[in-house]
Symmetry: C2
Subunit: 335 residues, 2 copies
């Protein structure tokens, strides 16, 4: 990772975490412990970073952006807590999931609490004094709209589980909803609070939704071609769990009968043998699907970079550079 | 019920339902069906009614209040959907609960969607054009703060299940959090959007939080002394399920050894015989606990009525009368 980007990410993470841990407090203690557990366990704070960088392109007033940066992380975390319940996942970021430790009722409530706190911190007395009220209301709208879209995306993803295959377009739409929409809102909110023009806000959103989709495709990619010792989790997990990834969607769409038959045999098969899975990954590569994924990510990265290169009346262009580096990192990352 | 109050409740219910069903639409259809299921199954729309009446005391502009009235009902419904999952309840309002029909993952997501939509509809372009932005942000803050309080109250209530008994003060605090806070926010938001002064907004909130607590105590009361054919559910259910009600808290606090021993035997005993439960209800009455509950509800009702009687610069006093009738109804209702 580019050192300026890496430095920016750590700086934002520190400030946002400080804000979260000083502001998200209360009783019952168990509920707050459960709510903050996944935030404490790590994470890169990508959404806060995108929000902050997007805002800092247009303002020097970093303080005003922090509560909003915290709020997108709270929304993201609430969706992780609820998703883990639905997927019955036991671990996330190397620690036990919230429902595994505290049980489902507390986990559901912990997610609900973070959701409420996300809106509470961006509308509290202090923020309402400092931020132009119509920009604040606009930001709250982007955040709530994106959160509704994430819920729709989650339901769409679940509906995919019942289907044998989904088209690449259906897959891409779901990924936009589950991942792209909240990144898009993060970038837009940064711009909105910093006083950016509607057109600049739109461009920031376009940038972030594209890299959001690219991020998920790269995840799918590493799930087939990543190195286990680098990514820190088992390769081929997605196939074993029957996930309809970029690769699976495209394989059913353009693969030959042999590839489809192999997929039929392995997809959702928890005990699929490693050598067969490796054969599947190779067959996907020879069918040109790996290349398609690489090309598609390149295309998204290019469009994202083009979008932020079109911003007008910018103040601090070094943050445009950081967002460009972030787009490159997302597509090239090995974990 | 007073006929003006009853007419007002039906009018509000119709308008709010129309608004909800025309505005909460989308894909996947299954998710929206699940989200709207409990709203379709009935309910009195008490929170929207309190919001509308509180606002109409200060404005004739009913249209502006409707999205906010819908939003408090969406928040209320989201908490019902999630609570039913946590309590493993199979029925609500005479229909199967959301998770019973669609499964837990869709039910969790359906609740999350309504939560997001509640904030989306009060911040959308149309509302942002019509409502003063700082009042809108203030209203969003009251709504998010109350929703966080409901989550805290839910966790507190769950923590009570693990304890043998709780004090009356602990019980009252939990009831304020689970029921009072959202009613309080509903009344305040009505006033805020209608342009009421901060002091009037505070008084409206005081009114509604008091009747919220009284509402729950009346529920507890009907769970012991109600008539099954009127309330439409089994009396003594609360005792069988081990709920720490107003009566249980006070019995452990002021009851004699015999009453406490009887409670120890029956509380949480799913197969407790009816005659013993009736004996418990009588013993509570002779210990003065029924009278304490009646006095406490009267006190809350009096304070609620006093609060709205202190409103200044009101425009339409007939809505003060409606809120007074509502306070009386809540304390006197037989179901």
């Amino acid at each position: 990772m580019n050192s300026k980007l890496s430095e920016f990410l750590s700086t934002v993470a520190k400030k946002v975490d400080d804000y979260i841990f000083s502001n998200i407090k209360g009783q019952p203690e168990e509920l707050y412990e459960a709510s903050l557990h996944i935030i404490r366990s790590g994470g890169k704070r990508v959404r806060p970073a995108i929000l902050m960088a997007s805002g800092l392109i247009f303002t020097n007033n970093e303080e005003d952006l922090i509560p909003f940066a915290a709020s997108v992380e709270l929304i993201h975390t609430f969706t992780l807590i609820h998703d883990d319940i639905m997927d019955k996942d036991e671990y996330r970021r190397g620690v036990k999931t919230v429902h595994t430790i505290w049980g489902e009722p507390i986990a559901i409530t912990a997610g609900d609490l973070l959701f409420a706190k996300a809106f509470e911190i961006i509308t509290n007395d202090d923020v309402r004094k400092r931020i132009d009220a119509s920009r604040l209301a606009w930001a709250a709208h982007e955040l709530s709209k994106a959160t509704a879209t994430v819920a729709e995306g989650q339901a769409l993803d679940m509906s995919f589980e019942k289907r044998k295959w989904v088209t690449l377009n259906e897959y891409l739409r779901m990924v936009y909803m589950k991942t792209g929409a909240l990144l898009e809102a993060s970038a837009k909110i940064g711009g909105i609070i910093a006083g950016a023009s509607p057109e600049n806000v739109r461009l920031l959103g376009e940038y972030a939704s594209k890299i959001g989709i690219a991020f998920q495709i790269r995840d799918d990619y590493l799930g087939l071609y990543g190195r286990e010792e680098v990514i820190g989790k088992a390769v081929f997990n997605d196939i074993r769990r029957g996930k309809k990834t970029f690769f699976v969607s495209l394989a059913y769409q353009i693969g030959d009968d042999e590839l489809k038959a192999l997929l039929d045999k392995l997809l959702g098969n928890q005990s699929a043998p490693r050598e067969e899975l490796e054969k599947l990954a190779m067959k996907m590569e020879s069918a040109g699907i790996k290349k398609e994924a690489e090309d598609y990510m390149e295309k998204l990265m290019g469009e994202a970079i083009e979008a932020i290169s079109s911003l007008k009346n910018t103040l601090n262009n070094e943050y445009i550079e950081i967002l460009k580096e972030l787009a490159i990192f997302i597509v090239k990352r090995e974990k």
